[in-house]
């Protein structure tokens, strides 16, 4: 495991497992869209790691979406993604501040809520 690993990795991993649970399937059925996340370790647009959250199939894939175009693509920094996922940062605010870039369908982007990310428990 390299030390340059993203904090976001843990969250995506958690989401991946979560999507296999009953509650996760409920979320999947509710949203039923595909989101792509470009997570940058430090600065937006540089060394981005791509994650695809496929809420049609209920999968989290590291890498680009292969079934066509994702419904919406979010680009943001690792740090901001963590804040987003644990509810400390509101996506609308992040967008206003320019901390979050969005590409793709507007209505799909709006359906995204950070609440779909399960919260990590603390040791």
């Amino acid at each position: 495991m390299a030390t340059t690993e993203l904090k976001s990795d843990a969250i995506f991993e958690l989401l991946k497992r979560f999507l296999e649970t009953e509650e996760g399937i409920a979320v999947k059925n509710k949203v039923n869209l595909v989101y792509q996340f470009n997570i940058a370790p430090k600065k937006m647009g540089i060394d981005e790691v791509i994650y695809t959250i496929d809420l049609k199939k209920g999968e989290v894939i590291k890498g680009q979406y292969e079934g066509g175009k994702p419904d919406a693509t979010f680009s943001l920094k690792d740090e901001d993604f963590i804040k987003l996922s644990n509810g400390k940062l509101n996506p609308q605010i992040a967008f206003m501040r320019g901390a979050l870039k969005i590409k793709g369908s507007l209505s799909a982007a709006q359906k995204f809520t950070p609440d779909i990310f399960p919260k990590p428990a603390k040791l």
Binding site: M1, I93, P120, A121, K122
Partner: protein
Amino acid sequence: MAMRELVTGGAACAVPGSSSSSNPLSALANALTGSSSKTRDRIKEIPTSTTTGTEPPFYQDATAEDRLKALPGADFDHSFSRHPTLQSSEFLRNFRTADQNGFADAWEEIHRSGPPPPPALLDHRLPPPQFQPTLEGPPQRVLSNFLHSFVGSSHGGIPFRPAPLPALGLSEGDKQCIRDRSSIMARHFFADKSEDFINAQVNALLSSLDIDGDVQAKGPFAGRFRELEDYWNESQGAPRPGPPQTDGWVAEFSQHRIEHGDPNAWAHSFEQQHGPNSWASEFEQEQRLVSAADQMRGANISNLAAMEQTRMLAHTLAQNNDPKFQNSKFLQFVSKMSRGELIIDDNQVKPAALSSPGDWATEYQQQYTAGPSWVDEYAGNQASSDFCKQDHKFFLTWFCQRIAALSLDLSNKKKKKLSHGPDQWANEFSTEREQSGPVDDQWVNEFSKLHVNDWADEFGRQVGEGAFGESSADNWADAYDEYLNEQVVAKQKSDAPRGVYVFSDMNPYVGHPNPLKEGQELFRKGLLSESVLALEAEVLKNPDNAEGWRLLGIAHAENDDDQQAIAAMMRAHEADPTNLEVLLALGVSHTNELEQAAALKYLYGWLRHHPKYGTLANPELSDSLYYADVARLFNEAAEMSPEDADVHVVLGVLYNLSREYDKAIASFQRALKLKPQDYSLWNKLGATQANSVQSAEAILAYQQALDLKPNYVRAWANMGISYANQGMYEDSIRYYVRALAMNPKADNAWQYLRISLRYGGESKVFLNGLLMRFRSLLFVPLKATNAHGKMRGARDSCIIASGAVAEEYSGWEVGKSCMDY
């Protein structure tokens, strides 16, 4: 404060900076119901010299004082501003030192157009000078006595009897205010009575006063005198109002007077913002704008365009008849901008208070020369890419959403408004912008790019389609408020960089003869937040006490605050670099914060400094750590002595780091066989299970931890997370609230509670019951939060909680206590 103002609230009752005094009558109610007996005592100590004042013009009407006395407890209202004597005397002093003539003029002007608002001046809020000229003298006293008897009826709980009253000549505005206030107040007085009873009481009161009981257009009144308030707020926002500011106030006032010509202008500007009547004034403004444009002779087209756009925007917005919306800060901002009261200067929104309308042209000339960058950026934006357009569109929708949300979600926002005080969106906005600098310059760019026609179309279309569900609207509606809060929080946080320990202010244990012993004792008893204070006192006394820092770090970790835990443990580590417990704790906390490299470093440090396994460690490794190497070493160590629980614990943490949860669970279980009484181990097991999505098992493990240590905040919070992740939001709320009651500074728990409230909040009955049951619990954290430094998150969350139960008394109560922050 005059009785009328007490009752009607109106503009004077809702002023930022004195948020707690935003409803004097409710404050009075508190005083009456005994919840603030301390304040009562405090108030008695306050010298009255300033309240009687020496400036005759202030107190021409001596009956004002009498009126005050007519209502027992009315004098308490001063207590609800933060430092009444201090503020008011300073205020008065400033006025005395100010240019007397100018001030006198201004005062006379105020005086001629309205009844004397004298004691209101004593609070650091502005009297609404032209507060309904129709009411003078005797009717006020009648009203005051009448309302007094209403308040009195609350003591016995006897039904209130309507009484015939002489015509009081109340204006529509007064009536509305009385109606609103009284129904809120009644819910306070008769908290123990049924809704029907309350309604009966209120109706009796209202019918006597010849006020329609029906609720129509609750909104607009807080905003009636908002311009004046804004001016006031601006001067309040200045470092400290010295004489120059006071002069400025006068200048602003007279300026304002010129701008509007006569007192009727208030009504005029009110209308303009509140409905179809705005046509005339819109037209006027357009004329003015056109003439201004002529004068400008093409000086700065883009600025003018921006203004034109905001004007159109304001117009579009003004056509929405929803009073809630009419009251919104945003509309105020836009309309201000459109009237040139706010200008965008060099990407900063600034109030253009000092320029009279006729000076617009010069203003913009200056601006043109001062801020060419603005123009450049504007031009740059024109050439923006498709991607930007996408952003832009998204922004537009956000914008629409916010407006739709405002229209849709009346009740929720009403509570918010109560807690927010007056509409000073524009002020907040401009100060925010100054704070946040270039980051959100984009906002202005976006704003200037708005194609208003598109925008209006889109808005109409989306509203027509009913595109927004209530919940998503809520969601978006909170966005801006959160944004503001977030910026404040961010500002606070930037003061305290990561890894630096933040001490609580007002620590009662400072000066304690042996705070370490006290802290250990408190920790043993499970009073984590208290022991944190004691231990802080210890490390303040002995900054090199490793044990003090270590225990402090543990207490924070158990209190679910990893940031502080890390900060404390770092200090412990400095004082004693080889302490194994410290190294392990640092490893765990960094793991929780998902900081892998740091976690790995400390866990490896644990191995290196361990007397038994230190030999395994390869000193060359410490520079570039790889997870696999470290894990291998620990496995060796575990083979060396399988009976050492600690090795298994570290292994478990390591496996968490690599997200090999099954192995981690096995390690923790092995360790638990050796140390079954270790509550933190049970929690670690539970957290690992939760993270590998075995929520049911996790809850059992947390339960074990809580059986061993009932005040283990972390386990309570984790429990809440597990329920939330299973979609059992209502259950999760209970656990979050428990955790927060014990540690109101648990930031994560507040965030999670908020999310759960959003989902679990669907059932009003449930929430009401919950808030009723946990009211004392919620108040504890709220009070503690206040004592240990303000936390916006706390305020935010309980506002949301109260919003979710908007109609309910208890929710209001919670919301009200939020206002006190």
